[in-house]
């Protein structure tokens, strides 16, 4: 499979105004996205999952944000060294975003039709008539009943679920190769969430879009993702296929995250309590052969290695005979 997106040791920091101190929001993150796959990114608030993806789209305000190092390559082109005009043409057509809040990601004073056709005029230079036909067709595809009426209506006429469908339609209009869904179901009720997840799966089948799906909900990840990146405090902890991760989570943070979730299937009296300090597994390096130990390492000297079908953040201990 071809890589459509490669993130290589990305360091995205913020400089605080008051004391000029630096917040390392994304601190050396690397992962790849293959064509046609859905990659889930999980982590809690402040883990850097949103900043990573906003950096891909180039929509983080700079300053206060700045790129300390690393590269993001989209179809082989480094986005950071690309011509700004070219980048602008790519955003919205080759890659697009679905944001979390369907209430705030639509403009309340523009009709749904105006908001939908804007990208078509800009990127595809369609005529008014063609743009309208395409937009209405897309509304129908994302399961909106009475697309004509919705097209002429305004965001306040719609329920939360409908708005999110409109946002999804907008993101898909130019048939992007890369779709970033940033907590697209978090603000929705469970029954609506189930419908939207089903829709996103159908879209993936039909358009073969490569998707990055950001969420803090492991249940949602289990529904949609092929592979998962687990992030914590700006760093990647574990990258594995969905089956490997759920069958056999290795990193203490992944294990903790899974145990913290109250489960529908089990009756436990007490939920797992995550320790204040997250440690990393210690791995013995015997002439290039890795052996994982039960010991936990709490300092900063860690690295990503490939072990048991996954990438894992560990502390390597060289063993010399």
């Amino acid at each position: 499979m071809n890589k459509i997106l490669e993130i290589d040791d990305l360091k995205f920091y913020f400089r605080l105004e008051e004391d000029k101190s630096v917040v390392k929001a994304v601190d050396g993150v690397s992962f790849d996205l293959y064509e046609g796959e859905t990659l889930g990114i999980v982590g809690e608030s402040g883990s850097g999952k949103s900043v990573t993806t906003m950096a891909i789209m180039g929509i983080v305000p700079m300053p206060p944000g700045f790129i300390e190092g690393g590269e993001i390559r989209f179809q082989g082109n480094n986005l950071f060294s690309m011509d700004p005009d070219k980048l602008r043409n790519m955003r919205g057509s080759d890659m697009s975003v679905i944001f979390q809040e369907p209430m705030t990601s639509l403009n309340p004073v523009l009709s749904i039709g105006d908001q939908l056709t804007e990208v078509l005029f800009f990127h595809q230079k369609l005529s008014k008539k063609d743009a309208k036909a395409k937009a209405i067709g897309m509304l129908e595809k994302v399961g909106i009943k009475g697309p004509e009426r919705v097209y002429n209506g305004y965001p306040h006429n719609l329920s939360g679920g409908q708005r999110q469908r409109v946002v999804i339609a907008m993101a898909l209009l130019c048939e992007p190769k890369l779709l970033i869904a940033d907590e697209p179901t978090t603000a929705l009720d469970v029954t609506i969430q189930a419908e939207i997840l089903k829709l996103l799966k159908e879209i993936k089948e039909e358009f073969k879009t490569s998707t990055i799906f950001i969420t803090h909900d492991l249940g949602v990840i289990a529904e949609v993702a092929d592979r998962v990146v687990v992030m914590y405090r700006g760093k990647v902890m574990e990258v594995a296929t969905i089956d490997d991760l759920f069958d056999n989570p290795i990193h203490p943070y992944t294990v903790g995250l899974m145990n913290s979730m109250p489960s529908i299937d089990t009756d436990s009296d007490e939920l797992y309590s995550m320790p204040e300090k997250i440690g990393h597994p210690i791995v013995i390096d015997r002439e290039g052969k890795y052996a994982i130990t039960d010991e936990i390492y709490y300092e900063d000297d860690t690295q990503m290695i490939t072990l048991e079908n996954r990438e894992l953040r560990v502390h390597l201990k060289k063993e010399v005979d």
Binding site: V190, G219, A222, D243, P262, I264, D265
Partner: protein, 325 residues
Amino acid sequence: MSANLGINLIEVKDLKKYYPIKKGILRKTVDHVKAVDGVSFDIKKGETLGLVGESGCGKSTLGRTLLNLYEKTSGEVFYNGTNIHDAGKGKMNELRKDMQIIFQDPYSSLNPRLTVEQTIGEAVRFHKMKKKDELYDHIKQTASRCGVDPNHLTRYPHEFSGGQRQRIGIARALALNPKFIVCDESVSALDVSVQAKVINLLKELQKEEDLTYLFITHDLSVVKHISDRIAVMYFGRIVELAETNKLFESPVHFYTKKLLSAIPKSHPRKNTKNYVDQKTPEWVKIPNGYKIDDRDPKKRDTESVMVEVRDGHFIACYKADEFLK
């Protein structure tokens, strides 16, 4: 779970809360939003009753009307046998000590201008529950019981994280030694690891103090974990009420089925349980002349009643047309 179930601490009878819709220059009331539309249930002492439903179904309004924070439209709420809406102002003040609430948003529910000490101590001081020299010790004790470092009492809310603030909110409720607490989406705004800690804390406090909870949430896995019984609310009415395990094993009302089928699966290879196509189990005994109330909520013209279809399992039913004639 809790052992001494038996005495009803809270009894709610046909509680209604309507909001008027006003139109025109004269602001004439043209219609009502029926946020809570005839709800009846009991909560036993020491029990946790979960209240689930989607946004806008009236679960928060119910929680607040039940505490007399909102004025009711009609119906009755009894706390320990006392009708709280009939109680005078003095009596109500007494009752407020016993009945507390923990809110959802740890950011907006704390006064940014009060220190932690003032926040936790405010109500205690108002009710004159402690002498001046005892007050500080009481605040310190309550704080540390809820996992707030007693050395941080002079700090302001903005100096704390979301989880810490929620602990302060819990300490504020607990400082009055309440018997009954409404938890209104108290863990919904928190990250999973923090949420787990706060849920554990709430359970621990319940064991120690023999507390009774009404736990309002939209998160079905959380409610399953914490509740003894669950009430499912849909468009202002409770449509099903049963023991937690029974509800998850065999939901009867179509809305409960739909809600439970929407839970994301817990493992990629596990399929989500589909309850929607399940037939009504044989043990469901509905009295003659009644039908399960699965009418379109906007077209409900007659009242519905809660019918006990087996031990402790209640379903909303209505009198079928042919028996009305």
